[in-house]
Symmetry: C2
Subunit: 543 residues, 2 copies
């Protein structure tokens, strides 16, 4: 009666298809083997692990600013990372009780962290241009982590922590190792949706923890949508007063958001907020009168509302003020402006809209009206000195967009063709289409995400350079605080390695071997990452 050995033929076609799919398309990975790369995840660009093992005595071990580093104790990002990674490596150990280790072996008592750039960005926010590269050298005479900027140091500390393991006596060990590392793609994101379900702050912070364990560097915060408006605006407080699920408990205050941004910064993660219009904006209408288009039925207003009303000036005055605030609250250079899935039926029903269409010579092409609206919004945001990201429709509709616009390719079916088109037009692209993690299926579906190669489209080298990364999207229709973490991890880890590691890193078996350990490491660090298959972790989740 078990699910794996013999598969019952279920009643439904889809179930049967699922089983067949599971058995034939995902080679069943069962017994993980030790990987030559230990539990490194994502795999660094270059790794040389020597068989020479050293003991690390936690009571003596120190992570310090190395000689010549441009950073010192005032570099909060590093100070916090030093503490954090010491905890992760030696957590729950009463320092005096640590086994001494065999004295015949070498001992490692120091990791020196050296930043080399004068502009090490200790006191800045990470950006799309941040340098995350680092070199890590673990030798008999000490370990050195060298990076140009703090962001590389943070990534290298994660790597160093992944090199530490325990022997059967509980002693901490590390092998002599040389690593040179940098990300393949600059934008490696997770999309969280806090509109379909509100996510308590703790859940977001925990996700940032897990992102840092996987070297992901962008939180795409899809903060509002049709269902609710949890962003508490200072300028327009009624938006959340009336548009949130609950105006006191299910909102993000300025303080909440500042905490998310700082928590993310300390982990080298950007926070890109999305305020999606003109569609997906039902909840906006509750707290902002006349913002949405009134729909008509039989020549009369029906009492329902459609997309943002693009034909009145107040809309743009409102948007200017709101985006001016948003631009200050979120320090990232980019704001995601959405622009997807605009339903034209309400616009079609509205006589004022149609009059406007006629006056502007749009005929009956509502795409042109959408373009008209988007153009205004892009102009507003540009005037605020911010860059923007948009969903692919904005590009597809031939809107005039700034050259530095980032187009997010989300539609399945033929995302390779879309990547070709977007980059042929000279725009930067990020890919999320194959990584909609809210879609679930039975079995080891992480393999599906892992096997995606983002640059498999026809195109010149120049075009491929314009693909700057990707995102794993966890839409919130069926996800909230109850199930977010195990649904996201370790499935998003597959995307993380694909976006960080070298293109040649494609062995699913070796990935499995490392990911099984990486997953238990995440569990040990408080992330309820679900299992890949049968087996156990030393420390199971126990709450």
């Amino acid at each position: 009666m078990t699910a794996v050995r013999s598969v019952p033929v279920l009643l439904f076609v889809v179930a049967a298809a699922s089983n067949a799919y599971r058995l034939h398309k995902f080679p069943e990975l069962t017994a993980p083997e030790p990987s030559p790369y230990g539990s490194l995840w994502p795999l660094p660009q270059s790794v040389q692990v020597s068989p020479v093992v050293m003991f690390i005595p936690p009571p003596e071990f120190r992570i310090v600013h190395g000689e010549g580093s441009t950073a010192g104790p005032d570099c909060l990002v590093l100070q916090d990372a030093f503490r954090r990674y010491f905890d992760y490596m030696f957590d729950y150990i009463r320092l005096k009780d640590v086994p001494a280790g065999k004295t015949s072996s070498g001992r490692l008592v120091e990791l020196q962290v050296i930043l080399t750039s004068k502009d090490n960005e200790c006191h800045k926010y990470p950006s799309i241009l941040s340098d995350e590269s680092y070199k890590l050298s673990v030798n008999d005479d000490g370990a050195v982590l060298q990076a140009s900027q703090v962001w590389g140091a943070v990534r290298g500390l994660e790597t160093f922590s992944q090199l530490v393991y325990k022997d059967e006596t509980g002693a901490f060990l590390i092998n002599k190792t040389q690593i040179t590392d940098f990300p393949r793609f600059a934008h490696r994101g997770i999309l969280l949706d806090t509109s379909r379900h509100f996510l308590p702050l703790k859940v977001i912070l925990r996700t940032l923890d897990a992102m840092s364990f996987n070297k992901l560097n962008v939180l795409h915060w899809h903060i509002v949508d049709d269902q609710s408006f949890p962003y508490q605006s200072e300028t327009f407080p009624e938006l959340s007063d009336k548009g949130a699920y609950q105006p006191f408990t299910h909102i993000y205050t300025f303080i909440d958001i500042r905490m998310v941004i700082e928590y993310a910064r300390l982990r080298g993660i950007r926070v890109v907020p999305e305020f999606d219009t003109p569609g997906h904006a039902d909840s906006w209408g509750k707290g902002q009168k006349d913002l949405l288009t009134p729909c008509y039925k039989d020549g009369e207003p029906s009492g329902t509302f459609g997309p943002v009303n693009p034909i009145i000036n107040n809309t743009y005055t409102f948007m200017y003020k709101l985006f001016r605030e948003i631009g200050k609250v979120f320090p990232d250079q980019y704001i995601h402006l959405g622009g997807d899935e605009v339903d034209f039926s309400c616009w079609k029903s509205n006589p004022d809209i149609n009059k406007f269409m006629a006056e502007h010579g749009f005929g009956t092409d509502y795409c042109k009206l959408e373009s008209y609206y988007v153009q205004q919004i892009l102009g507003i945001v540009s005037s605020l000195k911010k860059g923007y990201m948009v969903w692919q429709e904005v590009f597809d509709n031939h809107d005039q967009i700034n050259p530095d616009t980032i187009v997010e390719v989300w539609k399945g079916g033929n995302y390779n063709e879309e990547l070709y088109k977007v980059t042929a037009a000279g725009y930067s692209a990020i890919l999320s289409a194959p990584w909609y993690l809210d879609y679930i299926s039975y079995g080891q579906d992480w393999q599906r995400y892992y096997r995606i190669e983002p640059l498999n489209f026809n195109g010149t080298e120049e075009q491929k350079h314009l693909v700057i990364g990707g995102e794993a999207c966890l839409w919130g229709e069926f996800v909230d605080a109850t199930n977010l973490t195990p649904r996201l991890w370790p499935r998003a880890s597959a995307v993380a390695e694909r976006l960080w590691s070298n293109k040649t890193v494609t062995s699913v078996q070796d990935a499995y071997n490392r990911l099984v350990v990486h997953r238990c490491r995440m569990v040990g660090r408080g992330i309820a990452a679900e299992p890949l298959y049968v087996g156990f972790c030393e420390n199971e989740v126990n709450y």
Copy 2:
């Protein structure tokens, strides 16, 4: 770019099938409406709710043994349930601060619980014959819960707690209500698998909590299997010493099991352990020499092992001692003996097995050898005065089984035909085939489980009476403590209502309306039940 409005065509056939399935087979239930039955789940057999509302002042409210009850303060099951349900109803309320409520309305200050049977089973374990029926009357002059046995009272207390709600001031309310209730099926189970992954005790206890909220009454504890043997046997300690994932942390001690059993008893839940043989027993072989059949290759032992070795006497001596212990540790009348999915290839390879086959005239029909083995085990367990449950193969193979055997129908495809055959042969059956909850898919798949009608097979009324219930099975290949709770709930709630409520309760829309509230109630009581669709709970999970 959201997942629901527009469905991207994914790359894989199965995904496309999934989407089609989701869109066409599950009508999308979005906005829940108030149900005339409030948030009752599972729906009682008979409910009359009056519009008359009374206030409940928690500082004064008492749950008491009613006059004439055969139970008193020494009835631990009731005492514990009184405390528990008071907590659930009025949790986190500082009693003095509760709003007084409008004084013009009636007030309810007492629920009397009256057991009517002299054999009220206060000090017993629940059994397949337990009486879970009850009557609940909530009137102006007080509320009375009447039941023959404690088990009905425990069910009725859950129902009472589901009738209590709050108004906008936070005052507690209840409507005048008359309920007569009893379960449609006697056996309403959840299968947990603690072999593929070890489940910490807390996870099991939390599952028992959630089961009681859904009036489920059997924990089918699939405690051991191929992957690990976490049951710590006093007689054979090496079984877990060598067969558990980890012999000190990943085991169930006698004390653990006693705690599970008592925690379950207090909630009217039976604990039926499964010790599955002769297949699914790899982990047994690690701690019990010569128990498994040595497999041969090219005429030599290959070093691998197959099912339990059925041809040596020691096997049966061992099994007798083990099951004698198990019979004492687990008080339930039934033990599940497994008997599914026996792989014959190892037996076929072994010359001693083949010699034995020849001597016994089994020819090359290894089913006969399996039957021979099962027969011995059934005899052993019978001699210990225990009943047994088995997977359907034991019946399919025409083993001689006791008339009181319960056959569990798990194979998909044609479970109606199997139900027909099993009941035509006069055996009791339980159904789990359509309720393998470890199979997951995108969307509102609880509807699929809800729409199952267990008695839709051709058969006489007598045959249908032999179907005594069903089980929702959560096999553990991809489930552990990280994801068990949101994967099980509220999907198992759909099975719970199907097995408790009247056959005529089939409105998926009304079920949705009640289940949305029931799921938030579970969240409020500490069960991270996942969302059914967009929306929110007053108290979200926040850890």
